[in-house]
Structure formats: structure tokens, C-alpha cells
């Protein structure tokens, strides 16, 4: 028996205590494949690479059985708030 969506959810929940977690099974018949969206306070002050590493670490024991993992979102609770993003300066000259 391979890795289930519930296994993935449980592993991330115990490692990152997310305030929001969406795990989507995207396996198209070629094995366990998941898309993951996580919102966690533990991402505070961490760069994207570091955040993805934290998710990968949480899944490390399952990784051998997982065909593909795609981390679509790794946000802090503040970033997950639906607020207007400040526009990047438009008057910056392009090199």
C-alpha cells in the first residue's frame, strides 16, 4: 500500500501545524502524486527555498513512494490574507 493523501496531510500537519492545508491528489495513474498548499506560522522569516525544504523534510519518510510533489503555495498566515498586493514600482527603467 502506497502513500495516501491522508498520510501526506498527517505528516505536514504534525511538522508544520498549518493554519490552512490543501492536499490534492494529482496522480494520473502513474503513482502517488500530490499538489500541496500550506499556510503556516513556521514559514515566518523563511525564504521560499527554506519553506519548501521544510515541507520536503516533513515528507521525507514518504518520499521514496511518492512519484511527484508540487508545492503550489507555502505562505505565512499574514501573506495568506486576501489583501491588495503593493504594485512593484512601474517607473523603474528596464536594463
Amino acid at each position: 500500500m502506497g502513500v495516501t493523501k491522508e498520510d501526506v496531510e498527517a505528516a505536514i500537519t504534525s511538522a508544520l501545524s498549518p493554519s490552512n492545508l490543501v492536499v490534492t491528489d494529482t496522480s494520473g495513474g502513474c503513482g502517488a502524486s500530490y499538489e500541496i498548499e500550506v499556510v503556516s506560522e513556521k514559514f515566518e522569516g523563511k525564504r521560499l527555498l527554506e519553506r519548501h525544504r521544510m515541507v520536503n523534510t516533513a515528507l521525507a519518510s514518504h518520499m521514496a513512494e511518492i512519484h511527484a510533489v508540487s508545492i503550489k503555495k507555502a505562505l505565512t498566515p499574514a501573506q495568506a490574507q486576501p489583501q491588495a498586493q503593493p504594485e512593484p514600482a512601474a517607473d523603474k527603467p528596464q536594463a
Binding site: L48, L49, H52, A60, M63, I71, P88
Partner: protein, 114 residues
């Protein structure tokens, strides 16, 4: 003889140090630039092409020892793996995200001018 594939030998580490330092932009992927063997690898190739940046690729499917060694070397469990200026940048999702935000272009520009 028995070999432990999970262990990253000192020789392999040294080799990888040289390999990742050998080009400014290096993609360890499944398949080749022209024939990617996986959608995630294909995506990153397309992004690098669209940014018109010179890059090298290495096919991890052609070398199992390289594939296993790199996972440990990068502390990253999957492929593709993008290296910029000798430093691990990320996998497919991070590259896509950084491409959208402009961070990838910035990192590449810095690397090309260094």
C-alpha cells in the same frame, strides 16, 4: 562488492563541487534540453529558454549514481534541480514562482555579470 548508493562519497562530493561550478546556469534534469523526459523538467527548460540565458543540462536518468548523490548534495529530494552560480536555486515550483515574481531574472542577471 557492495556499494551504498545513499551515501555521498567524498569523491562524488568533490566531483559535484566541480560540476556545479563549471557553468553559471546548470540544470540537473530528467532527459535532455531537447528531449525532456518529465513535465517538471520541461517547464524549467522552457523558462530558461524564454529568458534567453545560456545554460547547460545534465541528464540524471543517464546516471543513477549522479542522481542519488545529487539528492544528498542539494538536500533536495526531486528533479529538476537548478543551480545558478554554483548555488542551488530550487526545483520546479520555486523556479516557476521566482520566474513570476522576477526574482529569477534578477538572480540570473547577477550571476551573468559576476
Amino acid at each position: 562488492s557492495v556499494r551504498c548508493l545513499a551515501a555521498l562519497s567524498p569523491e562524488m562530493r568533490e566531483t559535484l563541487d566541480k560540476v556545479v561550478g563549471s557553468s553559471k546556469v546548470l540544470l540537473f534534469m530528467k532527459g535532455t534540453k531537447d528531449f525532456p523526459q518529465c513535465g517538471f523538467s520541461h517547464t524549467v527548460v522552457q523558462i530558461l529558454r524564454s529568458l534567453d540565458v545560456p545554460f547547460e543540462t545534465l541528464d540524471v536518468l543517464a546516471n543513477e549514481a549522479l542522481r542519488q548523490g545529487l539528492k544528498e548534495y542539494s538536500s533536495w529530494p526531486t528533479f529538476p534541480q537548478l543551480y545558478i552560480d554554483g548555488e542551488f536555486f530550487g526545483g520546479c515550483d520555486i523556479t516557476v514562482e521566482a520566474y513570476k515574481s522576477g526574482e529569477l531574472q534578477e538572480t540570473l542577471e547577477k550571476a551573468m555579470c559576476s
